[in-house]
């Protein structure tokens, strides 16, 4: 049964020190407000999982919440580099960051395996690349029918998944639409899940392209209007492309990032 509570309480319930946690959202519906609350609550030693660790993970990494990053593309989309991510990888600041690096297809299938209750998934992936040499998550597997060699990847099981959605009803059924990414898979891969929403409504009227997560797979719902900013929520807000560009300057050096962080924690 879903607990509907405040964002601070929900984050405290769902995200714990040392967790393997995914904040998902493929450009759209990124749960920034929940990420900021994790920073405020001072979580540490997180293994952060995300296909595209963009600005939200730059912030969590810069704030020292992360010990490890599992990902497939770490950049500021349409802008450039993630400076806090680079500083952590290149100089160990504010703390060393272990990385486990995959391709998008590998990551997506690792979520699919976990959501499906399987220990692994099969794909044609990463062939001819240096990725397998630097990852324990890519192994060959032979088709028992054709003898063909393919790629096996292990399930990406999560302690916690955090996603943002347009809305929930009072039972905790969740509805999201537009680009829905791997959010369903992330929630179904997790022991605990938190969904922040733009609004809570009496009835979820059907919407074209919507994914519905029934309440019995959602642990916590928290109202967080605008909680995807600077990402967006289709039908509620537009992407704040200017902020993504400003982030390049904010994050470029440790001092200006420090000011941003103090402002957030005030």
């Amino acid at each position: 049964m879903t607990v509907i509570t405040s964002l601070p309480d929900a984050v405290a319930l769902v995200v714990q020190d040392g967790d393997t946690v995914a904040f998902e959202g493929f450009t759209h519906l990124i749960p920034f407000a929940a990420g900021h609350e994790v920073i405020r609550q001072g979580r540490r030693d997180l293994t952060l999982v995300r296909m595209t660790p963009d600005v939200i993970y730059d912030q969590l990494i810069g704030a020292g919440c992360a010990r490890r990053l599992v990902f497939s593309w770490g950049g500021n989309p349409g802008v450039g580099s993630l400076h806090r991510f680079r500083d952590a990888v290149q100089h160990g600041w504010p703390a060393p960051l272990e990385i486990e690096e995959n391709s998008h297809a590998v990551m997506a299938n690792r979520y699919v395996a976990a959501a499906s209750g399987l220990p692994f998934a099969v794909l044609r992936g990463a062939v001819g690349t240096d990725l397998p040499a630097h990852s324990d998550s890519i192994r060959p597997i032979t088709c028992p029918f054709t003898g063909e060699e393919l790629t096996a990847v292990p399930a990406l099981r999560l302690d916690a998944a955090v996603v943002h959605a347009q809305r929930a009803d009072r039972e905790g059924n969740v509805q999201l639409w537009g680009i829905t990414g791997v959010q369903k898979e992330a929630v179904l891969s997790a022991t605990r899940s938190l969904v922040t929403v733009e609004e809570i409504v009496p009835v979820l009227e059907p919407v074209p392209g919507a994914v519905v997560l029934p309440s019995w797979v959602v642990d916590c719902v928290a109202l967080a209007p605008g909680g995807a900013h600077p990402s967006y929520a289709d039908g509620y807000s537009v992407r704040d492309n200017a902020f993504y560009q400003e982030w390049d300057a904010i994050s470029r050096d440790r001092a200006t990032f420090g000011e941003w962080l103090r402002e957030l924690q005030r």
Binding site: S103, A126, V182
Partner: protein, 230 residues
């Protein structure tokens, strides 16, 4: 009509797409080129973005692969696992459009690190969809600026074994010889073979029938500028 080297590169990349082709597009110059093609000679071009948008028809250039208009203008929006498993992996896509931080003489691509993996000089974004775009699409076109920094003799990391049918740069066009090594097959107007060789970290071969790229037409430039200046 004056044009920049990047404009020439983008126009040449757009021309590499035939009408009604199904094209898997990344953000940046590949997306600009694909949208230019759709507005000029290839109105039936099908654009697929890894965010799950199939048949996107954006009216302005997206800043990210997850821009709202990609979804709202698409024929179908599917999940990210589905776009990779049902649509890319089985070879349904004609052309994959990739960029690169480093490219070697066989067209392999690095977008992962400059320097050693464990202690990189520059940590780049990483693989994203590229390894499986490279292996899953029927053909791959790489669009990248040509310089000693990008056209290197050995990659620091092989992110994608791309084996492109065409590499389009700000200097010209390269295609693989029968042996698989990239050979310059066309130079953009005003670019010399020496210019291209000076921007390449290996001993770059010129094709016997080395041509000169047709310059951007006024129409191509008009449409390109209306896209990028919007």
């Amino acid at each position: 009509m004056n044009y920049s080297a990047d404009e020439m590169m983008t126009v040449a990349a757009a021309r590499a797409l035939r009408d009604r082709a199904v094209c898997f597009v990344g953000i940046g110059i590949p997306s600009t080129a694909a949208n230019l093609a759709r507005r000029t000679h290839a109105p039936g071009l099908v654009l697929i973005y890894e965010s799950g948008c199939i048949g996107a028809k954006p009216t302005s250039l997206p800043l990210s692969i997850g821009d709202g208009e990609l979804a709202s203008s698409a024929d179908a929006v599917v999940s990210v696992p589905e776009i990779f498993n049902y649509w890319l992996q089985p070879g349904r896509v004609d052309v994959g459009f990739l960029s690169a931080a480093q490219l070697d003489r066989r067209g392999n691509i690095n977008t992962t690190v400059i320097g050693p993996y464990a202690s990189p000089e520059v940590r780049l974004p990483g693989a994203g969809g590229a390894p499986e775009i490279a292996s899953g699409c029927r053909s791959v076109v790489v669009v990248v600026r040509q310089s000693l920094k990008t056209f290197v003799d050995g990659l620091d990391f092989v992110t994608s074994a791309a084996a492109p049918r065409m590499v389009i740069t700000d200097l010209g066009v390269l295609e693989p010889s029968p042996s698989g090594e990239l050979v310059m097959t066309s130079l953009h107007p005003g670019v010399s073979a020496a210019d291209a060789r000076a921007a390449t970290g290996w001993d770059l071969a010129m094709a016997d029938d080395l041509g000169v790229t047709s310059p951007p037409s006024p129409h191509e430039l008009d449409v390109l500028r209306s896209l990028t200046h919007r």
